[in-house]
C-alpha cells in the first residue's frame, strides 16, 4: 500500500479521500489555490501546498504544478477525485511519466471513453446496446440526413462533452441548423473541440448507471445500480440505490453489459457505465465515467463497501477482495447534493460566508461535507457544499429519513438549495418513483416555485415567524456577513432596505 497520496482536488471529495487515506494509515498531501487557504481539505491533510491563484486552470487544473508538489512531497500516488483533472488522460499519462501512480484507469481507457464517438464505436463492437444515432462527429449536412433517418426528436451532443455542455434537443427540422451551430460553438467554448454527434432522443428516459470495479489482475465486478433521474439541466440533483424499476434480472443484465464494457476497454479501478432506460425498461449505453462519481455513497450504503478504500487497494496492485457472488444489496439509500444556490431565484449561485451551519445526524444519516461554519464559499468553483445521504431498510423509510434530516439541516448566511429537496421529496411522483430525467424540470417549470416555497397560509406559523423576526431584531447579535463585516444592527437596516427596494423592483421574481 502507498505511504503517501496526493489529492488533486478540493471540497467534499478531497475531504472524502483524505478520510479514507487516514483510515488506511496513508499520509495525505493537499493542494490548494489562493482562495482555499482556509478550506477544510487543507486543515485535514498532513501536508498542504499552494499551487496557484483562484482560477482552476492556474491551480487545480495545473498539471505541472501538481506534479511538482507530488515530487517535492514524495507522494507515491495521486487521487484526482471527480471533476478537474479526473478524466484527463494527459494528466494520467504525465503522472505515469513522473513515476507517480494515478489512482484511476489507464490513460488509454480514459481516452477511449473520453471521446464519445470512439467510445460508441468500441462499445458497439463489444455488443453493448445503443440509442440509434451516429457513432462519430458529423457535419451539419450529415447530421441533417441522419436526423431525418432516425426521426425527431434528436439530441445533438458534444463529442468531448459532459455535464450538459454543448447539448441541444431538437424536435423539428426547422430548428435543426441553429441548434447544431449553437451546440458546436458551446462545445468549442467549453472543451476546445467543436465536434458534435447525434442521437435519437428517448422521451422521458430514466438515467440509471452501474458501478463497476476492476482490479489490475483482470477481475471486474459490478456493485448494483444507481438511479439518477432527478436532474436539472442534465445535472444530477438526487441519486438513489437501488432503482425502483430495476429487478434482480434487469440488474444482472445491466451488470453483465457494464462489466463487458469495462473489460473490453481495458478498464481498471472504479468507473461507472451510464445507461438511458426507456419506458419499456430497455437500456442503452450513454457513456462511461472514468472516475469515482459524486454519488458513490449510495452504493456504499447498500453494499456495505467503501469505494475509496477499494480504489486505493486496486491502485496499489491488490486483487479485489471479493467476487461478484459476494456482492449483495440491502436497504435503500438516497443522496441530495447540497449547493450554494438559490432555488427561488433561478438557481443563481450564492457564494459567501456561512454564518451558521446546523448539520443533521443520527440514524442512517451520512454527511460528506466540504465546508464549515465561518467558511466563505468562494466564487470560483462548483458551489457544492456537501452531500447528504440517508439510508433505511426500504425506499419509503429512506425518503422519510431524508426529509427528517433536511428539516434538521440549516445553512445561514448564504442561500442553499435545501428547500428544493423538501419539495421534491414531497412530490407524489417522486414518492411513487415515477421519475425520469425530465421530472425536475417539469416540477420547476410548473406553478411558481417562489409561491410554493414560501408558506402563505399556515397562519400559526406566520404568526410565529412575525414574532420571531422581531425577536431577532431586538436581540441582534453581531453577525459578520461577507468581507465587509458590518455589525448586525447596521446590516439589518441595509439588508432590509435593499430587500424592500429589490422587491418593489421585481428583482426577486426574476
Amino acid at each position: 500500500m502507498f505511504q503517501k497520496v496526493l489529492i488533486a482536488n478540493r471540497g467534499e471529495i478531497a475531504v472524502r479521500v483524505i478520510r479514507a487515506c487516514r483510515e488506511m494509515g496513508i499520509s495525505t498531501v493537499a493542494v490548494f489555490s489562493d482562495v482555499d487557504r482556509a478550506a477544510l481539505h487543507v486543515s485535514m491533510a498532513d501536508e498542504a501546498y499552494l499551487i496557484g491563484p483562484a482560477p482552476a486552470r492556474e491551480s487545480y487544473l495545473n498539471i505541472q504544478k501538481i506534479l511538482e508538489v507530488a515530487r517535492r512531497s514524495e507522494a507515491q500516488a495521486i487521487h484526482p477525485g471527480y471533476g478537474f483533472l479526473s478524466e484527463n488522460a494527459n494528466f494520467a499519462r504525465a503522472c505515469g511519466e513522473a513515476g507517480v501512480k494515478f489512482i484511476g484507469p489507464p490513460p488509454s481507457a480514459m481516452e477511449l471513453m473520453g471521446s464519445k464517438t470512439r467510445a460508441r464505436q468500441a462499445m458497439q463492437a463489444a455488443g453493448v446496446p445503443f440509442v440509434p444515432g451516429s457513432s462519430r462527429g458529423l457535419s451539419l449536412q450529415e447530421a441533417e440526413a441522419l436526423a431525418a433517418e432516425i426521426r425527431f426528436p434528436v439530441m445533438i451532443k458534444a463529442a468531448a462533452g459532459g455535464g450538459g455542455k454543448g447539448m441541444r434537443l431538437v424536435r423539428s427540422a426547422t430548428e435543426f441548423k441553429s441548434s447544431f451551430e449553437a451546440a458546436q460553438s458551446e462545445a468549442l467554448r467549453s472543451f476546445g473541440d467543436a465536434e458534435v454527434y447525434l442521437e435519437k432522443y428517448i422521451e422521458n428516459p430514466r438515467h440509471i448507471e452501474i458501478q463497476v470495479l476492476a482490479d489490475e489482475h483482470g477481475n471486474t465486478v459490478f456493485l448494483g445500480e444507481r438511479e439518477c433521474s432527478v436532474q436539472r439541466r442534465h445535472q444530477k440533483v438526487i441519486e438513489e440505490a437501488p432503482s425502483a424499476i430495476v429487478d434482480e434480472e434487469m440488474r444482472r443484465k445491466m451488470g453483465a453489459v457494464a462489466v463487458q464494457a469495462a473489460s473490453s476497454a481495458g478498464y481498471t479501478n472504479a468507473g461507472t457505465i451510464e445507461f438511458l432506460v426507456d419506458q419499456q425498461r430497455n437500456f442503452y449505453f450513454l457513456e462511461m465515467n472514468t472516475r469515482l462519481q459524486v454519488e458513490h455513497p449510495v452504493t456504499e450504503f447498500v453494499t456495505g463497501l467503501d469505494l475509496v478504500h477499494l480504489q486505493l487497494k486496486i491502485a496499489s496492485g491488490e486483487k479485489l477482495p471479493f467476487d461478484q457472488k459476494d456482492i449483495a444489496l440491502r436497504g435503500h439509500a438516497i443522496e441530495c447534493r447540497i449547493y450554494a444556490e438559490d432555488p427561488e431565484n433561478n438557481f443563481f449561485p450564492s457564494p459567501g460566508k456561512i454564518t451558521s451551519l446546523i448539520r443533521p445526524s443520527g440514524p442512517g444519516i451520512r454527511e460528506d461535507s466540504g465546508v464549515y461554519e465561518g467558511w466563505t464559499v468562494p466564487l470560483d468553483y462548483d458551489p457544492m457544499l456537501s452531500k447528504l445521504i440517508a439510508f433505511a431498510p426500504d425506499r419509503a423509510a429512506a425518503i422519510a429519513r431524508m426529509r427528517r434530516a433536511l428539516d434538521e439541516y440549516f445553512v445561514g448566511g448564504i442561500k442553499s438549495n435545501l428547500p428544493l429537496f423538501r419539495r421534491i421529496l414531497e412530490h407524489p411522483d417522486f414518492i411513487s418513483a415515477k421519475i425520469d430525467t425530465g421530472f425536475l424540470d417539469r416540477l420547476l417549470s410548473g406553478e411558481s416555485h417562489l409561491s410554493q416555497a414560501f408558506s402563505q397560509n399556515k397562519d400559526g406559523f406566520s404568526d410565529i415567524a412575525a414574532i420571531s423576526a422581531a425577536l431577532f431584531a431586538a436581540t441582534a447579535a453581531p453577525i459578520s456577513n461577507g468581507p465587509n463585516g458590518n455589525s448586525s444592527a447596521a446590516q439589518g437596516k441595509t439588508g432590509s432596505a435593499w430587500k424592500r427596494a429589490a422587491r418593489d423592483e421585481g428583482v426577486a421574481g426574476q
Binding site: P383, A470, A473, K493, A501
Partner: protein, 165 residues
Amino acid sequence: MIYEVTVAAKVRKVELTRSESGWLCKLDGRELPLDVVTTRIGVLSLLLDGKSYEIKQERTAGETNIVVGNHRFNAVVRDPRSLRSRRESEAGAQGPRKITAPMPGKVVRILAAVGDAVEAGQPVLVIEAMKMQNELKSPKKGVLKKLNVTPGAAVEAGQALAEVE
C-alpha cells in the same frame, strides 16, 4: 420595542417588552404567552401553549428569511421609530426600476445600450459566478437609462447595475 414586520404578504405589529422572566409579546395587540430562549446565534426555541418551535434566521446579503420548523417566510422588519428606515422605504417605492446583482460575480456581457427600448423580461446583462452564466432581465418595459458597469467588472450582491425607466 415596537416593530412592523412584513411576513406572508401581511404587515404585522409586534410589541416586545423585556420582563424578568423573558419577553412579553403582543402580536397585533393580542398578548401571547411566549417562552423564548436563544439556543444558538440565529436560533430561537419558542414555546407557546405547549407547542415547540425551533426558529432559525436565514440571513443572506440580500434578505432575511425566518425558518419555522420546515416553513420558510421572507421577513422585512421595520422599527417605526427609525426615520432613516422610513425614508428609504418611501424612496424605494417609486422612481425608475433598478437591475441589481443577486450575487457576487463578474459581468461577462452587456446586451443593451443606454437609450435602448427594452421589454419587461428582456435580458440586459449577463453575470458569471461559480462557472455559471446568468442573464439579468429588465424588470419592466421602458428605456435603459443607466448602465453602471462594464464587461469584466466584479460586482457585489445587491449592487445596482442598471436602471430602466
